[in-house]
């Protein structure tokens, strides 16, 4: 398990996407009928993600992160955006963790969580709302 003082793992490229599952109760409706995650998705001090380069090595598509969680959705943030806010990213692949598992370390402020909201990209989005 990575220590809080562990340094950023620079073998994870800046351009890598970090995949995070989003449960239905952490969605927020937008004016255009779509959804976004709430900022609370990105506030854990040891934020679990799946790391893109590891999933590619393992021949797994991003959607594999949702295996076993059919009611959840999948979003992604960029390693570059995380590092720009000063948060280290480390691999955390020891069993029983997912072999592509990683952590974004450090106490998260609202400014971090909302910056991730602004730049996140859905991989598996929720269906549009029907009013």
């Amino acid at each position: 398990m990575p220590d809080e003082t562990e340094e950023d793992d620079l073998s994870i490229p800046d351009t890598d996407r970090l995949f995070r599952r989003v449960p239905p109760n952490q969605l927020e409706p937008l004016e255009d009928g779509s959804w976004r995650p709430t900022s609370s998705v990105f506030k854990h001090p040891r934020l679990s993600v799946n790391i893109e380069c590891l999933m590619v090595e393992q021949g797994r598509p991003p959607e594999d992160t949702l295996t076993g969680y059919p009611d959840h959705y999948l979003t992604s943030i960029l390693a570059r955006d995380v590092r720009a806010k000063g948060h280290p990213i480390v691999k955390d692949t020891e069993p029983p963790n997912d072999p592509a598992h990683g952590l974004v370390l450090g106490k998260k402020k609202g400014s971090f969580a909302n910056a991730m909201l602004a730049s996140h990209r859905w991989i598996v989005p929720p269906p549009p709302r029907q009013e």
Partner: protein
């Protein structure tokens, strides 16, 4: 603004702040009566010039919610039922509800959030969306026209508010308690 309903009657602890308590519908009868009894005794002791009203809110397929609030004669403020519905639908119930390691949403944090909402909301305020936090806490979120406001009651630190206006790049993140007037004015922007 203080409510008079105990939040943790099962352990016998009396708390003066919480406005609400969630009941399991199958076990509501005895605690319900006890809660009303305690509330009446406390109101007498404090001699406040406020009428405290308790209402039971029912949502389909959800546990009933009892809420005690200071009634000015107008009844329950319009924003309350949407907030309670949001809470009822979205609170984290089981450990790991987020598919990672989130803790279940804890009632004392809901109580604290409701107290703050009663302190900062006007009757005409837009109801926020309620979202559980990983640590058992809870946050209220307003979003409209590129503006975001959050009131965050987490388990391990003082309640905070976060404000961001993407049209002006204005951003604030401060402790909630000394800034209730500011938060009140921000809510009016939604």
């Amino acid at each position: 603004m203080i409510g008079l309903l105990e939040g943790n009657y099962k352990s016998g602890t009396v708390a003066f702040a919480p406005h609400m308590v969630q009941l399991e519908s199958s076990a509501a009868t005895t605690p319900h009566a006890d809660v009303f009894g305690r509330r009446e005794r406390q109101a007498t002791m404090l001699s406040l010039n406020v009428i405290w009203r308790t209402e039971r809110i029912r949502f389909k397929d959800r546990p009933d919610i009892l809420i005690t609030y200071p009634d000015t004669g107008a009844g329950l403020p319009p924003w309350v039922v949407p907030v309670l519905r949001s809470l009822s639908e979205r609170r984290g119930v089981e450990p790991g509800w987020d598919s990672y390691n989130a803790k279940p949403t804890e009632s004392p944090h809901i109580d604290r959030l409701m107290n703050y909402l009663f302190a900062v909301m006007a009757d005409s305020s837009m109801p926020p969306i309620i979202t559980p936090l990983w640590d058992g806490g809870v946050q209220a979120t307003w979003h409209r026209n590129s503006k975001d406001l959050e009131v965050v009651v987490s388990a391990d630190e003082a309640p905070m508010y976060y404000w961001h206006d993407a049209t002006t790049s204005e951003e604030e993140e401060e402790k909630l308690e000394p800034n209730l007037t500011r938060v009140r004015s921000l809510i009016r922007q939604f």
